[in-house]
Symmetry: C2
Subunit: 223 residues, 2 copies
């Protein structure tokens, strides 16, 4: 049973990485994160790094388009304009941090999609994860995004669903992979990390919603 009244003063920060799963934030995951936060009676503030996208892809053909886009400006499409640069994030002002997936998480928030296991993490993203973790507040990561807290913290029980290569990469960073299926979450109580596989598995949109609702529920419990 959701206690919406109890959650009405809770506010989560959501880090977006653009707008569109091939070169930015996965739109269904990002939208359903905002939906699940509101559904549980809490509130959110969106953030994104003010950096150039790695590239712009045509989402029909998958081919690169000859243009440049800014992660913060494109992410504002999902946030309906209410978004702040990630450099302005302060852990003390929020009850937790959520990072939706999409390849933007692995291209614009860090370089995992390009560099593999030896990747680097955007400084503002790294700082946001460190300060949130040190403040004892929960961090939620969807789809491919769990590689980011795994890299920054060097530990944690996390899920990316069933993909063996990505699970091996998580282990190489010092994290432990928990295999999950659609709608399930992995909850690391000690490190306050919650993750759900979303489109790392072939999923219907309502399964994405269910997994994220479970993730937000677990984050509220840990916050």
């Amino acid at each position: 049973m959701i206690n919406r009244e109890e959650n009405k003063n809770r506010k989560f920060a959501v880090i977006l990485s653009g707008c569109g799963h091939q070169d930015g934030a996965e739109i269904h995951e990002a939208t359903l994160t905002l939906w699940a936060i509101h559904k549980n009676g809490a509130d959110y503030q969106c953030f994104a790094p003010d950096v150039k996208q790695q590239h712009v892809l045509n989402h029909i053909t998958g081919e690169e388009m000859p243009e440049e886009r800014n992660v913060l400006i494109e992410a504002a499409r999902i946030a309906r304009g209410n978004i702040r640069p990630l450099s302005a994030y302060r852990a003390e002002a929020f009850d937790g941090l959520v990072i939706p997936g999409g390849l933007g998480a692995a291209k614009n928030l860090c370089s995992f999609a390009v560099d593999g296991p030896d990747f680097t993490v955007n400084e503002d993203v790294s700082q946001a994860i460190h300060t949130t973790h040190r403040a004892g507040k929960p961090i939620g990561a969807l789809c491919i995004a769990p590689v980011i807290p795994a890299k920054v913290l060097g530990r944690g029980k996390l899920t990316i669903g069933q993909d063996q290569a990505t699970a091996a990469a998580l282990a190489a960073m010092g994290a432990e992979h928990i295999a999950t299926w659609q709608g399930e979450v992995a909850v690391d109580e000690k490190n306050k990390l919650v993750s759900t596989p979303c489109y790392m598995l072939d999923s219907r949109v309502d399964q994405i919603g269910k997994g994220i609702d479970n993730l937000i529920g677990a984050m509220l419990r840990l916050s």
Copy 2:
């Protein structure tokens, strides 16, 4: 009680108008349309007109950006690449048609945002509405999108929430406005038109989801 088994062979066409509420499809409304269709056990196919966007707006500042984008290619971000040009739509292959809102519906699917009540409708959009209506199948319209079936059909009971100017425009086209609040739907049983106000009212994301879930439920009942 949802009968997901009964709905599993139902398929709705969804017409997107870009990606982002200021110059394209409203992302929350579009995503929650796909979510509600799947939640009710049915399936969807996304479509969009293969035309240039009226313009590209920075969703933080609201200012025009000096670039061009294509409605079909941008809408593919919401559809995860699984989208077809609206010219390929055939009413006989679907159980109904849904048009999410966002200013793209009033800028790229028709010229309402520019021309007011004397606007024109994109030919493929007009054709899709005419053929679906003639086939006796339901049409769902969200947010500002009800102006489109009102214009094309010249009749129908529809809602755009509470906005007096838009309600008057609907009346001028021969439609009847039904005032609604968050989460409510207007159902025109005779003309098989279903509408819900979404972001025509100040709304939380879960209220958007609730209204669209009610709209899809009514459309399934009418199909």
